[in-house]
């Protein structure tokens, strides 16, 4: 994947395009953004991910210029942008509601920003044609926004925000109004356009799958703070906290106390009368420290007999089965009453499923499958 080679955040010589330095934004007594420091690099596709009310939209509105930080500095290409009004920023935004001008045609909507500058008329027409071609809407240039479909409107909004070739494009829940199929197609289209235009994209979303698909890096936010910033793979495979592990995808959390048993290996006491779990961790834990083992359901194997060579194996009982078509999720109750989710691909037809309700089974996983977390 190209994204693996593109990693300016690992290069200490690279200058960030945007940097938030100790930015705080409060509305009255409510703190929307809490002392936040973050760098975003040129040509990144950066996702701000979090539940509603976590401050991600406020961050975007500060970048667009609709809100000013209460404290701290936001720099764009090394310059403080606080005194620059929204209409003078080399930043464009694609609104969640698309905010297309209902009284203007698709063509005029896209030309709107260009007409505010001193661009000659012919160049404007050429640029709009180019944008229409980019989003494949050439045939709809003369339609009004209410005469086209939701997906087409979304593309008009994208074309309009890209027309002025901004340094930075902000996308506020851009695909929220589209149905699942169209959303998937559009995600790839967005990535394609981002690559073609070389624009830096910052996308706000509460849909973790969307963030994982499109982004070069994801910032997981909660209550005005960034909890973790990393590539989608690292966010998923190596979350830094239970919050992130739980927010991204499905996860089982088993809490216990850690005890070092070797170089980077720990045993975790999790319930009375059960063998401790084994987990590998780069993060150091002291003996007796409270810890959480986070394991993704797809990394847990399920079998009728105790597997011979598993680092961790626990016996339990199937209490529920969720059939998802391509996958089945088994809900297995283990000693202590906790229910663990184990997922397996349905490579066989359903009638030949091995396990059913109330079956006693063994669940197992390797020492490196889980992540050991301290909070």
């Amino acid at each position: 994947m190209a994204q693996n080679e593109f990693a300016p955040w690992d290069d200490p010589n690279e200058k960030p395009l945007i940097s938030f330095r100790n930015v705080t934004k409060s509305f009255g007594s409510f703190v929307a953004i809490d002392d936040l420091t973050l760098d975003i690099y040129a040509q990144e596709f950066f996702a701000l991910l979090g539940p509603s009310g976590c401050g991600k939209t406020t961050m975007m509105r500060m970048l667009a210029g609709f809100e000013a930080p209460t404290k701290g500095v936001i720099e764009l290409a090394g310059k403080d942008i606080a005194p620059v009004p929204p209409n003078k920023r080399a930043v464009n935004m694609m609104f969640q509601s698309y905010a297309l001008f209902p009284h203007l045609s698709v063509f005029e909507n896209i030309a709107f920003g260009l007409r505010r500058g001193d661009m000659p008329k012919n160049d404007i027409n050429d640029r709009v044609e180019e944008m229409l071609k980019l989003v494949r809407l050439e045939k709809f240039a003369q339609r009004k926004p209410h005469q086209i479909s939701g997906g087409q409107r979304q593309r008009v909004a994208l074309a309009r925000s890209l027309a002025k070739a901004p340094k930075l494009l902000l996308l506020d829940e851009p695909l929220g109004a589209l149905d699942a199929k169209l959303r998937q197609a559009t995600q790839f289209e967005l990535m394609d356009i981002q690559e073609k235009t070389g624009t830096t994209f910052v996308i706000v979303t509460h849909d973790q799958e969307e963030a994982m698909t499109v982004a070069s890096r994801v910032a997981v936010m909660d209550e005005g703070k960034v909890i973790q910033v990393a590539t989608p793979e690292r966010i998923y495979e190596a979350p830094n906290s239970v919050y992130v592990a739980d927010f991204i995808g499905d996860v089982n959390i088993i809490s216990g106390t850690a005890k070092q048993v070797g170089e980077g290996r720990y045993s975790v006491n999790w319930t009375e009368g059960q063998a401790p779990l084994t987990a590998a961790s780069e993060r150091p834990f002291s003996d007796g420290q409270a810890c959480h083992v986070a394991i993704r359901p797809e990394k847990i194997a399920i079998s009728a007999e105790r597997p011979a060579e598993a680092d961790n194996a626990v016996q339990g009982k199937i209490v529920d089965i969720a059939y998802l078509g391509n996958l089945s999720t088994y809900y297995v109750e283990i000693p202590g009453g906790q229910v663990i989710k184990a997922q397996s691909a349905n490579t066989r037809r359903i009638s030949r499923r091995t396990f059913t309700w109330e079956d006693p089974v063994w669940i197992s996983w390797t020492a490196t499958a889980g992540v050991l977390l301290d909070q």
Partner: protein
């Protein structure tokens, strides 16, 4: 059957309260003046044939011979147009401020706009006489401030008529514009600014075009009644203010010439049909745009 019953009600209403009176007025406009009760001939006493034989258009011809009438029509048109524009200029900022006001204030502001309707229209116009007269509150106030030495003559001029019309019809301008501005999606203004508009440009390029329907509706709601306005020019305007509503009144009650007065009314109605039809079309277009 049920559907028929449903549309029958409004049609019966229109028939009884609009079409029948109009036919009566139209019939009178084709009659001749007479010193009798009712003050015109023919009546149905002599049979239908004789009745129809006596009807003619000479009252309408009479209207063209005396320049009072067409001057009054033109003057009414001018006053109605100017006062509509004035009302728009006063009403738009008020509607804009209302739409921008905090949510919890809006019902109160709306009530304040409608509040004058709780008092009789006549009393309010008389109150303006007290304000605008030479000894009135306005002149007293300006004299007290030292802005003027001698009282201004406002009452009994066309200016007083403009003031009266703007005051009376202001709510009809504010409410449709407010409704249009209230529906305006705030993110459209932000989008315009994001794309390089200054605040003022965003207002002209987005806010004004999107409140166009409200402006048009409000303008017609002011223009249509202002054109036939009678009370305001006769109470606030002097003898110099010529308006067709006043002429109509004088024909009916001073000259007791019902046929000519009816002819004046019929022409006025024909003139009004044009803006009414335009207004209806605007409303329909808006309804379609909303759908």
């Amino acid at each position: 059957m049920q559907r028929f019953a449903l549309i029958f009600v409004p049609y019966a209403w229109l028939l009884a309260l609009f079409l029948v009176p109009f036919i009566i007025v139209f019939k009178i406009s084709l009659s001749d003046i007479a010193l009798s009760i009712p003050p015109y001939t023919p009546t149905f006493d002599n049979g239908l044939a004789a009745f129809f034989a006596e009807l003619d258009f000479e009252n309408f011809e009479f209207l063209t011979t005396d320049d009072l009438y067409w001057k009054a029509y033109l003057s009414s048109l001018r006053i109605a147009v100017i006062s509509t524009v004035l009302t728009l200029f006063v009403g738009y900022p008020i509607a804009y401020a209302m739409a921008r006001a905090p949510e919890e204030w809006r019902p109160t502001l709306m009530m304040l706009v409608i509040l004058p309707f709780w008092t009789s229209f006549l009393i309010r116009v008389y109150a303006w006489m007290g304000i605008l007269s030479q000894e009135g509150f306005l002149n007293q106030f300006l004299l007290w401030l030292g802005l003027i030495d001698t009282p201004l003559i406002i009452l009994n001029t066309t200016s007083a008529v403009y003031i009266g019309i703007v005051y009376t019809y202001l709510p009809f301008m504010i409410l449709p514009i407010y409704a249009a501005l209230d529906r305006l999606d705030g993110s459209l203004i932000e989008a315009a600014e994001d794309l390089g508009c200054s605040r003022l440009q965003a207002f002209w390029l987005v806010t004004v075009p999107l409140s166009k329907n409200g402006i048009v509706a409000g303008s017609f709601l002011v223009f249509i009644p202002a054109l036939g306005e009678f009370v305001i020019p006769s109470l606030l305007g002097g003898s110099g203010t010529l308006m067709i509503g006043k002429v109509l009144w004088e024909e009916f009650f001073n000259n007791r010439d019902w046929p000519v007065a009816s002819a004046v009314a019929v022409i006025l109605l024909l003139i009004l049909i044009i803006p009414i039809v335009l207004f209806q079309r605007n409303q329909q277009k808006q309804a379609e745009a909303d759908a």
